[in-house]
């Protein structure tokens, strides 16, 4: 469903980060991308999300080349087909938990009945009317997971989702994330430094100067 | 009196300066101006008591009294009282009661050797509202609370009190009126119109009270009165004058003056000496000679005055010695003009002869204002 063809990307100052990168992600596949700092993991995510454009090469999602889309169209694409989970949660402080989760549905003009169900799935039943400041970090990330999946996106992008969490909570969150991605039939890419986190994915890819290379097998379950 | 200091910088119309200026000014103006004022002409007979009073048809007129007084403890004092009447020759048609047709100017000074200087005060007002006037018929002059009145019997009453000094005197004649010049026609220059009507009353017996620092002191003494009126007075070339009037111990009366020219020398001079019997000897200009014998420089104005003067009238030699040197009237603070007017003692041919008043004007250069 996601095809990367010979992607090249250099920083403004000229340093090359991605060179001739090609990769294909199949529908329903959940992979982890690991790599050293500065190797271009976040750049890659930005490119996939259409928030940045490659210097050359093509990124296709379900056959649509997103680098050919203008800002509105790529935003529309993100709105309908993407879900995002961030390291710092990025939950809007003045919206309730339910409202935060409902945001993608509202953006897509879809009915919001599914919010209750999602709340239950991520273990936040009865917390829907709470404001983010009343929640712990793990709970905030649960909200973020619910928000990322409520509109049944095709692809979930998670950038170091457990970076701000303690190992126990991180474990729970990673399990939940995987479960939700699978339950919603989405593909997923998780960018992380943590081997424990990467291990929850179907496959682990190493991002180096030379490209994306499969590492040893990922999810053991 | 910082207030008066402040006004002093201004060229205000005021007593002495105005008089001095007028003397020269109107002499020059008389010919050009078509004035309602009358000229002084020879051959006009003075009539009394009418001529004791004011003469409103003439430009300027003054009653001038000087004299020596003695306190009960025999301390000498000199005094001077002057009332001027001045016709502005303006406002003829103005019906306002404030219309300034005549001005009354008055001046009082007291020379007190104990104080070492002259105390003086001056005032100016327009005639009107019975607050200031000079009445015809008999001497009756008033400026606010200052008065000079001649009673029917010839006695003069003077009341001139200020905040810190003053005079309340009665002056009784002991001799006849002395007509100066040609029966009261007194020439002041080469031109016949440079003249005044002029009489004197020497040897007035004075009794009364002097106020010093507002304390009354009984005094008695002898005084001299001049009454003079004119429309044109001084020669334009005149610089100033020296004048003396003296009551002599033997009952004689001496009056002498010289008008000094701007280029030095005298423009005119005159003297009259009346002996106790009433015989008057007149001296022509060339018979009268003023010679300074000692000068005094004023610390106030830096003007140099011949305060001791040698006067020759015909064969007679007079020596004048001042009661005190500093008898300068420094009115720069209000008027800007300064002169010396002081009590003097006289010797005649080196013998003590009497006491009088010497007036020295025109010794200060015009002040830069």
């Amino acid at each position: 469903m996601l095809e990367l063809c010979k992607i090249n990307k250099a920083y403004a100052e000229g340093r090359k980060v991605l060179t001739n990168l090609s990769y294909t992600l199949r529908a329903g596949e959940y992979v982890a991308i690991m790599g050293d700092s500065g190797v271009g993991k976040s750049t890659l995510l930005n490119l996939i999300a259409g928030l940045d454009t490659p210097d050359s090469g093509e990124i296709r999602i379900n056959g649509v080349a997103i680098s050919s889309l203008d800002d509105d169209a790529s935003t529309q694409l993100r709105r309908e087909q993407f879900g995002f989970i961030f390291q710092a949660f990025h939950v809007l402080p003045h919206l309730t938990v339910s409202q935060n989760i409902a945001l993608p549905l509202l953006l897509n003009g879809a009915p919001t009945e599914r919010v209750e169900q999602m709340l239950a799935e991520v273990g936040l039943r009865d917390r829907g009317h709470h404001f983010p400041r009343q929640l712990s970090g793990g709970e905030l990330q649960r909200v973020a997971i619910a928000r990322a999946l409520i509109h049944r996106p095709k692809l979930v992008l998670a950038d170091e989702p457990t970076g701000n969490l303690d190992p126990d909570t991180a474990h729970d969150i990673l399990q939940l994330m995987r479960a939700e991605i699978k339950a919603n039939g989405a593909s997923g890419i998780i960018v992380t430094h943590s081997h424990a986190a990467a291990a929850t994915a179907d496959a682990i890819l190493n991002l180096t100067k030379d490209g994306l290379h499969p590492a040893h097998a990922g999810h053991s379950q | 009196m910082n207030m008066s200091k402040r006004w002093g910088q201004y060229d205000l119309l005021s007593l002495i300066r105005m008089i001095i200026l007028l003397f020269s000014l109107f002499a020059a103006n008389t010919l050009a101006e078509t004035s309602r004022l009358m000229p002084v002409v020879p051959g006009h007979a003075l009539t009394f008591p009418h001529d004791y009073g004011a003469h409103q048809d003439f430009r300027i007129e003054w009653w001038y009294m000087t004299g020596w007084l003695e306190t009960e403890d025999k301390k000498p004092l000199g005094f001077q009282v002057t009332f001027f009447r001045y016709a502005t020759d303006q406002n003829h048609d103005n019906p306002s009661r404030f219309a300034a047709k005549y001005l009354i100017i008055a001046h009082v000074a007291l020379s007190d050797p104990a104080a070492g200087k002259l105390m003086h005060a001056e005032k100016t007002a327009r005639e009107g509202f019975e607050l200031a006037y000079a009445k015809p018929g008999n001497t009756d002059v008033k400026l606010d609370e200052w008065t000079l009145v001649r009673e029917e019997n010839g006695r003069y009453l003077v009341d001139m009190r200020t905040e810190d000094f003053g005079l309340q005197l009665a002056l009784t004649p002991t001799q006849k009126v002395l007509l100066q010049g040609e029966n009261g026609f007194s020439r002041k220059g080469l031109e016949p119109e440079q003249a005044s009507y002029y009489y004197s009353e020497p040897h007035l017996r004075v009794t009364g009270t002097v106020l010093r620092q507002s304390k009354p002191v009984a005094v008695s003494g002898s005084a001299w009165l001049d009454h003079e009126w004119s429309t044109a007075y001084l020669d334009p070339n005149a610089d100033g004058w020296d004048w003396v009037g003296a009551n002599l111990d033997d009952g004689s009366a001496l009056m002498a003056f010289q008008i000094r020219g701007k280029k030095g020398g005298k423009v005119w001079a005159y003297a009259a000496l009346r002996d106790p019997s009433g015989q008057v000897k007149f001296f022509s200009p060339e018979q009268v000679e003023f010679t300074p014998t000692r000068t005094w420089q004023s610390p106030h104005t830096e003007a140099v005055y011949p305060v001791a003067m040698h006067i020759r009238t015909g064969e007679i030699e007079w020596q004048l010695t001042p009661l005190l040197d500093d008898q300068e009237l420094d009115s720069r603070q209000s008027a800007g003009a300064v002169y010396w007017e002081g009590a003097v003692t006289l010797t005649r041919d080196r013998q003590p002869a009497g006491r009088g008043y010497l007036e020295l004007t025109g010794y200060v250069k015009p002040l830069a204002l």
């Binding site: 976040s42 999300a49 940045d52 800002d71 509105d72 935003t75 529309q76 694409l77 993100r78 709105r79 309908e80 993407f82 995002f84 961030f86 390291q87 710092a88 990025h90 809007l92 402080p93 003045h94 919206l95 409202q99 409902a102 945001l103 993608p104 509202l106 953006l107 897509n108 003009g109 983010p132 400041r133 950038d159 970076g163 | 207030m3 402040r6 006004w7 201004y10 205000l12 119309l13 005021s14 105005m18 200026l21 000014l25 502005t88 303006q90 406002n91 103005n94 306002s96 404030f98 219309a99 300034a100 005032k123 100016t124 007002a125 327009r126 509202f129 019975e130 607050l131 905040e163 209000s334």
Partner: protein, 852 residues
């Protein structure tokens, strides 16, 4: 590392990062201080110069004797000159003479001519003695000579030696400019003549304006004054210099105080803006401060850091403000005059005096307000538990401590109470306090109000609302404090603008209606009058009344009366008044007593509202006024038959029947006449007829519609400064909106970044920002309107009657208010948009990543 350099790093870092906010804060405080300071400077300069000029005129006397009317008989002069204890009596005749070639400048066309006896004046007012040409000393006494101050020479464009033509009554007189008045104050327009000449030339024979007395040393002034007052009786007033000063102060006090209050309003708006900038800046950095606390900053250090920041801003802003204020004042005085075009201080030219104390006071006000603005949020930041503060989303909770409803309610209650209190020293002090409290209370209530409104909006739209609406409403409803702070400045300035607009409109509409009522005739004719005499004698009255084309002619006799030595003169107007229904003649405030109610044999008068306030005259009351035969000026009894509205004379006016006046005084002359034209007659023909009279050239003929237009023009000019201040206040308010939106946009970068990630379009973000700004402003406008309306009630019904002693009806300028509201709405939304354009830049996307 020394803590000093740490402190400097923190400060410079913060300022470098938020230079725009820093500049706005400095500008806000600078503009506020500049306005307050410049108005203070202008007022002080004008007032001091006016007093100095008046003192210059009245000299250094111990006492002054005035008549009840402007002039009295000169026979008092010799009596006082001889009076026991009087050292000097200085008679003065003071005339305001209309200059024929200045008539187009109706409000500023008079030359003050002082008639003096220079021999008397030399000791009391030497500054007023003319300086003649060398050798022309007697010009000071001449009946054709006039001495002019340099300003008067410049104004009249004459020099020494020129001839000056003046109108005195129906005659023209020519005077010789004999010299100058070198001691007149710079800009003071006066002329001096000999008193006898002035009496004669200006037909004031036998009359004086006042007699100034100098007492002898050692005379007890108070005892002397009491004795003399008793001796002179009721028809004269013995006045001390202090009375004179009171009187001068009274003349312009209301004007000055009101202008100062307006300046304070500008300062207040500026202060609020600084407060909000500081508060937002501190809140934005809560996490940073919490981190510093975690790192080991003590509370005291942190507090000092924040307050130091505010103090520096305050210092820079205040210093800038002082300089700016000085420049504004200098320019305003140069171009508008000391009374800013309102003609409160005619005939003078003030210069600004730098008073270090005043400058320091304003500097401290600026500094104090800024430090206070930093203190409140600083205390909150310092008290916060670092662990809690580190978490985002707690900002608004922090702010809510700054606004408790109790405080707001207390302010509003107190304001209500203050509106019921009477004036203090004849000034509406409590009225102004009530306005301030209303503003403070209103602003403090704003967050609650915003939360309530937007929550209910949310409930109304609820689920069916789209993502954007939900986002906007949720933010406004759940983070009302930040929103409210942004809006505080705009709320303050808009409500004040509304209040002023309503007040000015009410005033203007009332004045317009009043003018129509008081100027019913077609033409008004007056002589170029001098002094207090009616310019038209019976023969001239007959000649004018007999002209063809006139349907009706009313004659007016106006005169000034002095009732209280500490107050300016009142105006007496004798004219035909409809005795059946006075409302046909006078703009009555309430129902007048009809003559049938009046007791037999009493003379009715109708008094202006100021007479009620200042002298306590009540309808139906018997009062005694110095209106009688000139020879034996006696008091006569009158009954107050009614109260009329007078916008022309804030110091009081009395109207009576001309017939009554003539019966009581025997004075048959009149000053003015009102002419109604018959059918078929034209204004131009009527004016031509009047001009053809033998004295036609000396007539001043005005069409009533021109007079109305001119009056309104003067009215508008007087309020020009008000408008200017309003605009400045609003600009400050908008600046504040811009600054706080910009600050908040920056603080919300991550929020926008996340929104962009999850599929919110760039333009949707902008729409969201504009909607937030617009909705907030709309609410601010609604609230500001309500607040402004309440304030305008205070202005119209409390401040105006208490300071100027006139009442008016409330009129709302709907069109204008709508226009201003729309402009505000659009500009606030625009401001929000411009401030928010950074919210959609590429940086925003990166803001969500924290591992870079």
């Amino acid at each position: 590392m020394k803590s000093v350099s740490l402190s400097r790093w923190l400060l410079l870092g913060e300022w470098r990062a938020h230079i725009l906010q820093v500049i706005v804060a400095i500008m806000a405080i600078a503009i506020g201080i500049a306005l307050g300071y410049s108005i203070h400077l202008i007022n002080t300069a004008a007032f001091n110069e006016f007093s100095a000029a008046s003192k210059n005129l009245s000299g250094q006397s111990d006492l002054q004797v005035h008549g009840r009317s402007a002039f009295f008989d000169e026979s008092l002069y010799p009596m006082l000159a001889k009076y026991e204890g009087v050292a000097l009596a200085n008679p003065v005749l003071e005339l305001d003479v209309v200059m024929p070639n200045k008539l187009q400048n109706r409000n500023d066309h008079k030359l003050k001519i002082v008639g003096l006896d220079m021999f008397r004046a030399t000791q009391i007012s030497p500054d007023l003695l003319g300086v003649p040409v060398e050798g022309k000393r007697l010009d000071g006494l001449a009946d054709d000579a006039i001495f002019l101050s340099p300003a008067a020479m410049e104004w009249l464009q004459v020099e020494q030696g020129d001839v000056l033509s003046l109108n005195a009554g129906l005659q023209t007189i020519t005077l010789r400019v004999a010299g100058g008045l070198v001691r007149a104050r710079s800009g003071q327009r006066i002329a001096v003549m000999d008193i006898g000449a002035a009496q004669w030339r200006f037909q004031q024979l036998g009359l004086l304006s006042r007699i100034e007395l100098k007492l002898k040393h050692g005379v007890n002034h108070a005892a002397f004054k009491a004795e003399l007052t008793k001796q002179l009786g009721d028809q004269y007033l013995v006045v001390e210099v202090t009375d004179q000063e009171t009187r001068i102060a009274n003349m312009s006090r209301a004007y000055r105080v009101n202008l100062n209050m307006l300046a304070l309003v500008a300062l207040f708006t500026g202060a609020f803006l600084v407060f909000s900038t500081q508060a937002l800046s501190v809140i934005r950095r809560r996490q940073q401060f919490a981190m510093l606390r975690v790192l080991g900053f003590t509370r005291r250090q942190l507090l000092r850091q924040i307050v130091l920041e505010g103090a520096l801003l305050g210092m820079i802003g205040s210093l800038l403000g002082l300089g700016l204020g000085y420049a504004i004042a200098a320019m305003a005085i140069q171009f508008l005059g000391g009374d800013l075009g309102s003609n409160f201080f005619p005939g003078i030219k003030p210069s600004i005096d730098f008073n270090p104390l005043a400058a320091l006071t304003f500097f401290l006000i600026g500094l104090g307000v800024t430090v206070l603005g930093s203190m409140a949020p600083a205390f909150e930041a310092v008290r916060a538990k670092p662990a809690l503060a580190l978490r985002s989303g707690s900002e608004d909770a922090a702010l809510s401590k700054l606004s408790t409803p109790w405080f707001a309610m207390f302010c509003l209650m107190l304001a209500m109470l203050f509106t019921q209190l009477p004036p203090v020293f004849e000034l509406p002090i409590f009225g102004y306090l009530a306005i301030a409290l209303l503003l403070i209370g209103g602003i403090a209530l704003m967050p609650r109000f915003a939360a309530r409104i937007f929550t209910s909006l949310q409930n109304v739209w609820g689920a069916q609302a789209g993502a954007m609406v939900t986002l906007v409403l949720a933010r406004l409803a759940n983070a009302p404090n930040q929103a409210a702070i942004a809006l505080g400045g705009i709320l303050a300035s808009f409500s004040l603008m509304v209040a002023m607009a309503i007040m000015v409109t009410s005033f203007r509409v009332s004045v317009d209606g009043w003018l129509t009522h008081v100027l019913p005739a077609d033409l008004y004719v007056r002589t170029v009058s001098v002094g207090d005499q009616g310019g038209f004698q019976l023969s001239e009255q007959k000649a004018m009344a007999g002209l063809s084309g006139f349907e009706r002619v009313d004659f007016f006799r106006t005169q000034q009366l002095r009732l209280d030595p500490g107050r300016p003169e009142i105006m007496l107007i004798a004219r035909p008044i409809d005795s059946i229904d006075p409302r046909n003649t006078l703009p009555m405030v309430d129902d007048a007593m009809t003559p049938t109610v009046l007791p037999e044999g009493v003379t009715p008068i109708w008094v202006s509202e100021a007479m009620v306030d200042l002298y306590g005259y009540r309808p139906g009351e018997k009062v005694s006024l110095p209106i009688g035969k000139a020879a034996d000026t006696v008091f006569n009894e009158f009954v107050v038959a009614g109260v009329w509205r007078d916008y022309g004379r804030q110091f009081g006016a009395v109207q009576m029947q001309l017939a009554d006046y003539q019966r009581l005084t025997g004075d048959t002359s009149v000053n003015n006449l009102a002419v109604w034209l018959g059918s078929g007659a034209t204004l131009d023909a009527a004016m031509a007829n009047l001009r053809q009279l033998p004295f036609g050239d000396a007539l001043e003929i005005s069409k009533s519609r021109d007079m109305r237009a001119l009056s309104l023009e003067i009215f508008d000019r007087s309020f020009a400064v008000t408008y200017l201040l309003e605009i400045v206040a609003v600009v400050i308010g908008l600046l504040g909106v811009g600054a706080s939106f910009s600050a908040q946009t920056l603080a919300r970068a991550k929020e926008f970044g996340m929104l962009r990630h999850i599929g919110v379009m760039r333009r949707q973000v902008l729409v969201m920002l504009a909607a937030e700004g617009g909705l907030l402003t709309a609410m601010g406008i609604v609230l500001g309107f309500v607040l402004g309306w309440a304030i305008s009630l205070i202005l119209v019904f409390i401040v105006n009657p208490q300071s100027f002693h006139w009442t008016m009806q409330l009129h709302l300028p709907w069109g204008w208010l709508t226009m201003v509201a729309v402009i505000m709405l659009v500009s606030a939304a625009m401001t929000a948009l411009i401030a928010g354009r950074r919210a959609v830049s590429g940086n925003v996307i990166r803001a969500v990543r924290e591992d870079w």
